[in-house]
Assembly symmetry: C2
Homo-oligomer: 251 residues x 2
């Protein structure tokens, strides 16, 4: 086994076993190099593996630290339930306040050309104009996820959706008022590494995979009216839903 893999394995097992705990500091590259009898570059290769695995982070000039991970719960199913009591808050903000934390979001509205993946889901041609309501959600000042909603422009031009203000009613309700009430949605979740843009918007450290959750809403007539892309950093979320059995198991 190459030296750099031995180094990675050594500290990985210390972290996994709990011997090294979150926020603990690792030895310096120099110390590790001496300990394993290799040069610093080899140590860097080995620790680089743990960085891309999301187990440690480097804080210059302090050293390497074991990464902390606590998951916030993400419930895709809740979206098709009636809204909570206070209409001035969306479900995300409500949940955060319930947990005693401070939410905050920055909304930005723009007209963009639909990328192929979006166009397909919205049933339009690639390159056609869509309205994008892009927002990054923050908790206690730290970004936690991306929520970019997209609407075909014919459906929403002249409506409130074009305004970058926060819509207490929620965009689903605005769409319903415009005559496009959704009664069905398809959810698709992809697991991948983030793009540089996502890394920037979410201040992601290296080694953080994301879930890309595409939520496409349809009217009763089967017309897609919105497609929302949620980008959830893996180190900050877990996705939760419940099932109840349908039909009787035979026997």
């Amino acid at each position: 086994m190459p030296a750099y893999q031995r180094i990675a394995a050594a500290y990985r097992s210390q972290i996994m076993s709990g011997e090294l705990r979150p926020e603990d500091r690792l030895p310096t590259e120099h110390e590790i190099a001496d300990r394993f009898g290799v040069v610093r570059q080899t140590v860097r290769t080995g620790l680089g593996i743990l960085v891309t695995e999301g187990l440690i982070v480097a804080r210059r000039p302090h050293g390497y630290f074991v990464r902390r991970r606590e998951h916030m719960v993400y419930r895709p199913q809740e979206k098709s339930r009636p809204r909570p009591a206070s209409p001035e808050m969306d479900r995300f903000s409500q949940q955060i306040v319930d947990e005693g934390r401070t939410p905050h979001q920055a909304i930005e509205v723009s007209l963009v050309q639909a990328a192929p993946d979006l166009a397909e889901r919205l049933g339009i041609a690639a390159g056609e104009t869509v309205v994008a309501r892009r927002r990054v959600r923050f908790i206690n000042g730290e970004p936690v996820n991306i929520n970019d909603s997209h609407f075909p422009i014919e459906l929403v031009k002249d409506s409130e959706i074009m305004s970058p203000a926060y819509l207490p009613r929620g965009t689903d309700q605005v769409l319903a008022d415009l005559g496009y009430r959704q009664d069905r949605a398809i959810d698709e979740i992809f697991i991948r590494m983030p793009t540089p843009e996502e890394i920037h918007r979410l201040s992601l450290g290296p080694g953080t995979p994301v879930a890309a959750h595409y939520d496409t809403g349809y009217t009763a007539a089967g017309t897609p009216v919105q497609c929302t892309v949620n980008v959830l950093p893996g180190d900050r979320h877990k996705i939760v839903f419940e099932r109840h059995w349908q039909g009787e198991p035979a026997g």
Copy 2:
């Protein structure tokens, strides 16, 4: 911007834009080094980023190639629907055959001590013995996902679940016959980088994140009777489910 990032950005954009397509070959490290006026090591750092992003793979001694990705559909909701017609095949195999491909699975039964995460979900103490039915599922000879089911040993000792044979009825049915019929399940999905063991069992390339799907089943009495861990490589799956609206939107 550092040279290695410029290199990564250059080839990333060529891949994203479609200029470089799946299976296309990149220039050799040497050529890239000459082109950007840096040494080979710097090129390796840059290409290393794209490898960990899952965009390219290195095939020695042939060079770097743009990675292909095609997603197989994973439907967690289907699990709580009645089973398909042919009782000798489970849902996974049925789906694969429908797609004209050849499924195959290797089942291995063992007694293990419950890790803390499992113990918590099964409502037992960490370290207690559980029965693990571990299996890797293959399509056309290639591993696609891990499906490890865990049962408290008191519930299933002396039952067929202890046998490493394939159970046409399915373990849920066996549990039901033992008096532990599930009528509710909680699904939790975590996004993370794979462990070395998962990399080995699934033959994962570097830069492949996974979804870990914990499916915990409960009887009507609220007792957890099984916890299944599905590990889905991000480059081979998308998770899909559907929602239908409950309750009437006001207005």
